[in-house]
Subunit: 763 residues, 2 copies
């Protein structure tokens, strides 16, 4: 038998879920079909604005196999959910604000009966004036979606450092631009779903595809008047999340169904169409930028205005915009900054969290501006970025003094040495006929953690189970990014265990502890820090208990190896199974907590902000896209892509590369093709035939380069990198297109139509 | 309502058991009378050496109310117990080695029936030659008690540094003396007792007056062939222990009785007589000393031979002698040392652990020698001690380099400033008629902890219980010294809780964790260090969970106060009861461990030692006795007593003073009156009418002075002081008597008869 090799931090360990996922046996919520289940489905408004007059259920109830039809009248409790603002009805009781609003809930014995019944619920809605354009929503006389929100403004805020406008008026060079970004959908493989059941003891148990099982208890509990400790929520691995499962999707509806199912299990699973209509989306955004510099390329001033369309309900709209504002000036030193932001309600689908949470919108604008400025100055765009790149000790554009690891310069320098950058002229010159080649850069960054005034904390639990295996209780959902596997690797490293000795449990509000959502690049950072402490305590206990069983004078020579504690000087050992038999359950469980650091002296630069400002830890990246533009079709092809990333110390290089490649892929979709198309607030591109995402053939080789440098506060020096890569592709490709064809595209996605139009305009 | 005041380390907090003990409601094992109990009692050999021929039980069984009579034939398992050497029969099967050997075990419905039946068990023993004098035991031809122990030697060992004999031959001044010390009894208020029951699930549960419940499981289990995890042992507060309950007394017998009681509870309670006959005793010791110095008083060489009488079985005899040897040179620098020790078997009662564990014997000899030397040199005895007193960095007489706090000089200096020392001449001169007055000194020290090659470790557990109280699970018996109260004080200090918010549980092998015995001055040191870590973790959790419930961004402003966590900036708070409801049981329990430091580089000075050498931490003390000798009766009266103690940082001044006063009182009994008198191995002084201990009227004011100085490895800087004070009174009084009357007493106790004899000899 070969020696079992302990897992090690820093090494490209195989993900612990690789085999199960490859074999298709990893259990997702969507795989659950409890015996005797009832199907639950939603009747949606179908029009974007109106007054609900009546819901006639007779025809639906007449369908064979229909169990119940519920309306707002069946909801006890406030009937409102939402993470920050509790403004979203579980079932509409009066006002319809977007076409995906839920009006009634049908329970049926089969999916067929469910579909038939949903079609036969007669909903009478009196149409009301609607508004779909965020600028129109701001105008006087526009229909108001929510009381107390004049001008439909969910949040208006600003960040101000120095005197931007006065400084701009004195700058030697000023460039300006207006940009817009699309509504993007998350397009997880596993759409929103879950099962729930009201247990005999009054507990409502739910297994759901959720990024935030612990918070869900409060959201569901508040909406339906259930004490949070009567809600037991389990979140298995997700088939994708990307922010779209952060907050209640099916949860409140499922709970409501379960409350009326007399103890029978209830299953709800949105099909792709429903996911597109009713799921959360990325905020479309309009951005106006003016950027000024000295002739030598030193950035002096920035003034920008951002308009985020949050759709019918608040969800995380204000926070998404705030993060965008915090990043609006890019990873640069700019002494004079004025960033104005407004997030407005419209009758569009609800926007919320999505990977890079408001940041990829501003990255498009700011990085386009940087290339415009470089052109204006006749400077190399990489050198312009290097000259202004943030270093530790600088104040960033939000006025925050940077005290944590800041690898922006390192990323740019690494990119400068990359062969694809070095050989750029030769490659460009070899463009095929009717084709133009170009290279585009983007310098990106992305905050990690919830930011100021939000508790960013985790409680980790690790145990030696009764059989002598090490069980890591993950409490932050693994949506596919592999945080669970990272936790096993960390625990294995500290406890010197191999994968076979470890077991990973996914979040369960009964057996794990509140640790926040899987989001904001915080997952491995925050939970990992707590986990390290728990594992160190477990290691101390295992060593100590083994020393006790071996009657050792001193524990210093004891070592953990896979499955046992050994004492090399004497050759004696204690198997974990022996330890497990010796240690009572309470002794086999170690629990530790971590609260992420917040800014000790928040700058006085932000006005109108609610929570989430400022952040203290940022991942950085320098991206390069090599593209070809087909001059006949307008099609952009991304040929190669380089992403240099500063994510602190790398726990697992393969997993970091996968995160970066995934982010770049999703960013290329955002850059080239993805847009949720609507008409009168109704989603038209509601299938994967009409909403295109890049497939393997649409994607280039994505070269991930890792700039390692420990972040002192991070677990083993790590920073989160789940989001940063999303920010690069759109501006890098837009900059490359400009370099290739001399056209500056201001509206994303950069579709062939838009390219052709710009080429025509230029011609 | 007045604010509740948190407990504080360093303050003279009232002992948490004060009220219960004063009111007589603290439950001791002896207070337990379970329903339907059977009484168990022992038939003892009654002669000191012989061969057991038969045990006739018929007459005993005929007594009304007798349930069973058990003999060795009823013992399954090896029928041998012992802490280090398993040489003591639970019930004699062949050889009788001392008069207290247990021969049969009687179970009866009442204590009366028990007594009658014990008297009627007919034991036939063929007498064998016996040996009662330890020197005689060494001679060729002496009866051998145990196979494999030629010369009846349990352990022969030596400590050697430099070349003692050669150096002595060259010393300017050499003094010599021979000393002997008595067998002392512990005389706890609560004699040995316990109750036991065989539960339906096969568990043997025992509540017993024991200093070592966790070790008892192994001792009982090994003797009777019961797996240790089937033994559940609870040790409530003891009515005294002093070492006499360290190791099995009633335990094996009780367990044997319970195994044969068909599930009925069994109670055994030794009366005073049985305790005197069968309980462990302090080793009588004979000591020969030669001590050499320069004319200026610098100690040069010591050669001493120690002979410890361990009685019929090993128990802790070897270890007791080893500790005596380690302390034989006193708290002084002596470059050339040869200490020879022999511990021998005799047919006397079994000696074992007793407060100061072998050390008070050598302290008598060494401190007498120091005064002899001072006389010889014409030096002030205090100055002589100061000149030679150990300081940190010195090698002590066992060759150990001192790396921990060493307050010997400080103690002597403090004593020198004391009014009783300053006014010594005047006081002496005012002796009443027929009376002589004298002052005597002793410089003492006592190791803490088990010493090398023995695991000295503890595992502490503290929890927030379901009602929101802080429960400290003491795992090292509180024999009355108040360690439990010290633990509550420490936990209260760390967790900022008042006494009313705290609850103390006494050791229970099911709910607490193996933490060694209550002995060796290690209790508060070792367990306290573990407890600090557990309390700090609980504090971290309470703060964190409160922060979670209050949705606080950052936990830094949260503070613990009695019964709750408060957030002064907002005035919000979380009651412990709320936290308890929120936190699952596993989360409310914190467990931490500590392994006491051992000597990193043990000196190569000790030969023949088994375990327990060397120690690294020592408490120090300087004692002064003011005495009067009645020239007509020979009676010594101790008029005043000063004890300066270096016990590191003082946790609770009152409790330290009480420990010191208790030790001095027991030491005065040892000095003046206590001796277990025997004839042919049978104890004659088997009652408190014949074995006298000092009462309040026999004791002087005992002034405790605290020399505070933190020991870096100790909990809050503490060192254990349970034993050190025991070492002073005998030599201090002997030195005072010499000063008063010019007689040097070499044999303890210093009875009136011996004083008169010495006065006569002198005259």
């Amino acid at each position: 038998m070969t020696a079992r090799e302990p897992l090690q931090v820093g090494r490209a360990e195989v993900r612990c879920d690789a085999a199960a996922k490859t074999a298709g046996i990893e259990p997702y919520a969507a795989d659950l079909y409890p015996e005797n289940l009832l199907w639950a489905g939603v009747v949606r408004a179908g029009i974007a604005s109106g007054r609900l007059l009546s819901v006639a259920t007779e025809a639906a109830l007449a369908v064979s196999g229909v169990y119940k039809v519920l309306t707002a009248a069946d909801v006890s409790g406030p009937n409102r959910h939402g993470i920050i603002h509790r403004d979203t009805p579980v079932l509409v009781n009066e006002r319809v604000r977007h076409a995906g609003d839920a009006v009634a809930l049908v329970l049926a014995e089969s999916r067929t009966a469910l579909r038939q019944a949903i079609a036969r619920v007669r909903v009478e809605i009196e149409p009301l004036p609607a508004v779909f354009d965020p600028e129109a929503a701001l105008t006087e006389g526009a229909p108001l979606l929510h009381e107390g929100h004049a001008g439909n403004i969910l949040l208006a805020a600003e960040i101000r450092t120095g005197e931007a406008d006065r400084a701009l008026s004195r700058c030697e060079v000023v460039v300006a631009g207006e940009f817009s970004t699309p509504m993007q959908a998350h397009i997880y493989l596993e759409t929103e779903n879950g099962v729930a059941r009201l247990e005999k003891d009054g507990t409502l148990t739910m297994t759901v595809s959720s990024q935030s099982p612990f918070r869900d208890r409060f959201e569901v509990g508040t909406a339906l008047g259930i004490p949070y400790d009567r809600l037991h929520i389990v979140a298995p691995c997700l088939g994708g999340g990307f922010g779209g499962k952060d907050g209640a999707t099916v949860q409140c509806l499922l709970a409501l169904a379960a409350l009326h199912a007399e103890g029978r299990p209830v299953k709800m699973h949105w099909e792709r169409e429903e996911s597109m209509v009713a799921g959360y989306k990325r905020h479309p955004c309009r951005l106006r930028y003016r950027l000024g510099a000295d002739r030598d390329g030193t950035l002096i001033a920035l003034h920008c205005s951002l308009l985020y369309d949050t759709g019918a309900y608040a969800h995380l709209g204000g926070e998404v915009m705030e993060l965008g504002m915090e990043h609006a000036g890019g990873p640069y030193r700019i002494p004079h900054v004025l960033i104005e932001g407004r997030c407005v309600y419209t009758n569009n689908p609800v926007a919320g969290a999505m990977r890079a949470f408001g940041v990829c919108q501003v990255a498009f604008a700011m990085e386009s501006m940087m290339d415009l400025l470089a052109q204006e100055l006749g400077m190399d765009p990489l050198e312009l970025r290097l000259r202004n790149a943030l270093v530790e000790g600088d104040d960033n554009c939000a006025g925050l003094r940077l005290t944590t690891s800041t690898g922006m310069v390192g990323c740019l320098e690494r990119l400068r040495e990359h062969p694809l950058w070095q050989e750029r002229q030769a490659w460009k010159a070899q463009a095929p006929p009717q084709t133009r080649r170009g290279l585009g850069l983007a310098a990106v960054f992305n905050a990690a953690g919830y930011g100021g005034k939000v508790r960013d904390a985790a409680i980790a639990k690790v145990e030696l189970n009764a059989e002598g295996k090490i069980v890591v209780h993950n409490a932050v959902t693994d949506m596919g990014q592999g945080n669970g596997s990272a936790f096993v690797q960390m625990a294995g490293h500290i406890l010197s265990q191999d994968a076979g000795q470890m077991e990973l449990r996914q979040p369960d509000t009964r057996t794990a502890y509140p640790s926040g959502s899987a989001s904001a690049g915080r997952t491995t950072y925050t939970f990992g820090n707590a986990l390290i402490k728990a594992c160190e305590e477990l290691r101390a206990r295992l060593i100590n208990r083994a020393g006790l069983l071996l009657f050792l004078d001193d524990d210093r020579d004891l070592r953990l190896v896979p499955g046992k504690v050994i004492h090399p000087p004497t050759g004696r050992q204690v198997e974990f199974a022996q330890l497990a038999a010796f240690m009572p359950q309470e002794d086999r469980v170690c629990i530790s907590q971590f609260v992420a650091p917040v800014c000790e002296q928040p700058p006085d630069t932000a006005k109108g902000f609610f929570i989430g400002f400022p952040h203290v830890i940022f991942a950085y990246g320098a991206h390069l896209a090599r593209i070809e533009v087909d001059l006949l079709t307008g099609l952009i092809r991304v040929c190669d892509y380089v992403a240099v990333t500063d994510g602190g110390t790398v726990l697992n290089p393969t997993m970091l590369d996968q995160q970066i490649q995934g982010g770049v892929a999703q960013g290329i979709g955002y850059a080239l093709m993805e847009e949720v198309e609507r008409h009168e607030g109704r989603v038209h591109s509601d299938s994967l035939a009409t909403y295109l995402i890049p497939t393997a053939v649409d994607l280039p080789d994505i070269h991930s380069c890792r700039l390692e440098g420990a972040e002192a506060t991070g677990p083993f020096g790590l920073k989160g990198v789940g989001e940063v890569a999303m920010n690069g592709p759109l501006p890098a490709v837009a900059n490359a297109v400009d370099q290739a064809c001399g056209i500056r595209l201001h509206q994303a996605p950069l579709t062939p139509e838009r390219v052709l139009l710009a080429l025509e305009e230029k011609a």
